[in-house]
Symmetry: C2
Subunit: 451 residues, 2 copies
Amino acid sequence: MCKKSRHHVVIVGGGFGGLEVAKRLRKVDVSVTLVDRHNYHLFQPLLYQVATGGLSPANIATPLRSILRKNRNCEVLMAHVTDFDVEGKRLILSDGELRYDTLVVAAGSTHSYFGHDEWARYAPGLKTIGDAADIRRRIYTAFEAAERETDAELRKAFLTFVVVGGGPTGVELAGALSEIARHTLKNDFRRIDPTEARIMLVEAEQHILAHYPDDLCRRAADKVRSLGIEVHTNTKVTNVDDEHVYLQTNEESVVVATRTVLWGAGVRANPLGKKLAVACGVQTDRGGRVPVGETLQIDRHPDVFVVGDMAICLNSNGKPLPGLASVAVQQGGYVAKAIASLQQNSSISEPFVYRDKGTMATIGRAAAVAQIGGRQFVGLFAWLLWLFVHLMLIVQFQNRVLILIQWAWNYLTFNRSNRIILGEQPVLVPEVPSSTTATDSGKIDDSPSAS
Amino acid sequence: MCKKSRHHVVIVGGGFGGLEVAKRLRKVDVSVTLVDRHNYHLFQPLLYQVATGGLSPANIATPLRSILRKNRNCEVLMAHVTDFDVEGKRLILSDGELRYDTLVVAAGSTHSYFGHDEWARYAPGLKTIGDAADIRRRIYTAFEAAERETDAELRKAFLTFVVVGGGPTGVELAGALSEIARHTLKNDFRRIDPTEARIMLVEAEQHILAHYPDDLCRRAADKVRSLGIEVHTNTKVTNVDDEHVYLQTNEESVVVATRTVLWGAGVRANPLGKKLAVACGVQTDRGGRVPVGETLQIDRHPDVFVVGDMAICLNSNGKPLPGLASVAVQQGGYVAKAIASLQQNSSISEPFVYRDKGTMATIGRAAAVAQIGGRQFVGLFAWLLWLFVHLMLIVQFQNRVLILIQWAWNYLTFNRSNRIILGEQPVLVPEVPSSTTATDSGKIDDSPSAS
């Protein structure tokens, strides 16, 4: 269907990495096909805002076709990739196939429950808009259920929120939960006091935001606690069911009664990574990521590039690069250049080098941590920095403006306009596994809206 | 659970009618419970904008709790009403019951397929946010499928959109479809030309917008045709399946190959109307609406009021009032007053009289029809009037601003920012009937996203 006389570059995944490749190939004499199962690019760093009702899905999702409208050499194909035939240079789709000359795989990552995928139904992770909608429904439904519950113990369980994982996602979710409970819903209920909600942030390691320098994550932890969030470090999750989460510290094991457990702990590469590795005869790491050389090509398969969360790419000091948007974007730009130079003089001049422009994570209302170069920031300034950087990053101009207004409004009023529960339609209650996390999610038997 | 010493008013439905009653009872010495299966009030006049990607659900849906936050005498209960026990003064819920002293039923309306509910799966109507999401997914998925389709006939079918019903909803949907095809998606595809999409508006009566004066709806029809929409009046739908719609005119019967049929034809009262009528021993009309007296009470049941689309209420010249938001709002205000005066002097002074402030319908980009008093308007001015009135009507300030900006942007750029397809998650593919229209909807077998 997509045979071309021109060199055909096929990109799998319209995330930060894949989209960057497609954009940068605009003026290169190749034909490009970007394949994604969705018709939109998702700005994942703000997904937690959708999950907590601060933003609408459309604020952070932009149709790939409109982003690539001016890339006349680029086609967008909405399809499901099922496998790779690297010998035959074919991409296998659920409803066809696609021939390529050069393949770029950037299918990103999904959740890891460390071998306990059965937890997914009780503790949804946050990777897709479906996940965000599910989490939003669970959060606000829990408050509705608590308002109706007459049994004190059960009411307490409905008002207990456990966030697993002290990384950026977990901290963002916990921070937003605290704002919802302490401000947004403050005066909305008649029988319960939302400010009494218990929010627990559980982290197996010694620190939250562990990839930041020690004193920075210590200050971050203080900031998190100041929002009324219980920080439980050195605490492992041993089990999750529909009414409890089971915690294990060095000393003791605790059972917490809760109806809302959110999973921000583990990440692993998209299952396509495994298939690609098998097809190319290489080994993935424990996270299912595909090893690539310093030119981001797979060993002995120079026509296959891997970028973003799916790739194991070692930086100068031999450590694998983190799964950050900035890494994916830089890798995407590099691969586009590499493909261009391969077209011209059939060689790639220099290896990929990641330039760390700093990392930041938001904690909550006017609070974030940031590390730029050697410098560290905590609090309002870091948050403004975070806000500015992320707004500038968002793909489409309109969304920037809308988000800015929405946030300004939320900030001034503590309001969250997007806290509508769409669970009444099966809409947000997937019955069949659509991703690792969607498995039968949204089954809160006691929730009034689930009836 | 809700027993009170104070007189307890229970309102079923948080639409225009029910919400107005709750708001207006704020200073009356009664306790109020508003029951709705959703946690939000939906601004239905703009629902077609969500269905066509112009707005996000949260732009037109506002949490009932935040609207009624300051109504300290009002509780919001998210629950499903299943039946009425008017003798025992009890509301039967799917998971409990609720005692009342005065009952106000305002559960609105749903679609009518004129005895062909099996069409619902192929021709979704537009009443809920779930419907809107489903329709949006179908529209944009059809273009995606057409882009991938190699067979010319099938491609034509994917690019054929049939809107059934020439009322306001049908005209709005057809107008928005024309804008999507002729402007929004103009340059987004490589293999198809979206502007070649065929948009058919089918109406069984002699005119579209038939409840407007003849020359006004003739001018409206011209305006609709000028948008490239085929207007088929005097045309009945005899059957709908997953690949065709069957049309019957006086002369001939035609089979149209299409994958997208949208239903804007029939309306009937919420099924609760039937149950209420049975409980009160009265007869509903063909539309399932409940007859009420000039005080909006049910005959022989002065403690039961019915407002909005669910009620048959005759106006001064003996005609039943139309199912308009303005009617529901005025009736809601009247009932609140009536309840207050019954509390004070146990009598209702005067009957309900509807004050017609005019009606308007939007056709498309900068085009609408309006009738205010005796005066009639078509075109830009009517559209600006429509825009102004509707923005002013929307419940929450923030949404007004956001919508204004979003529309201004869409207007300037022909862009629709909300055209993301969420079908990949089962999210928008309800498997079980959640409403008359949700039955197994979203099954476009050939759509790439449905795979």
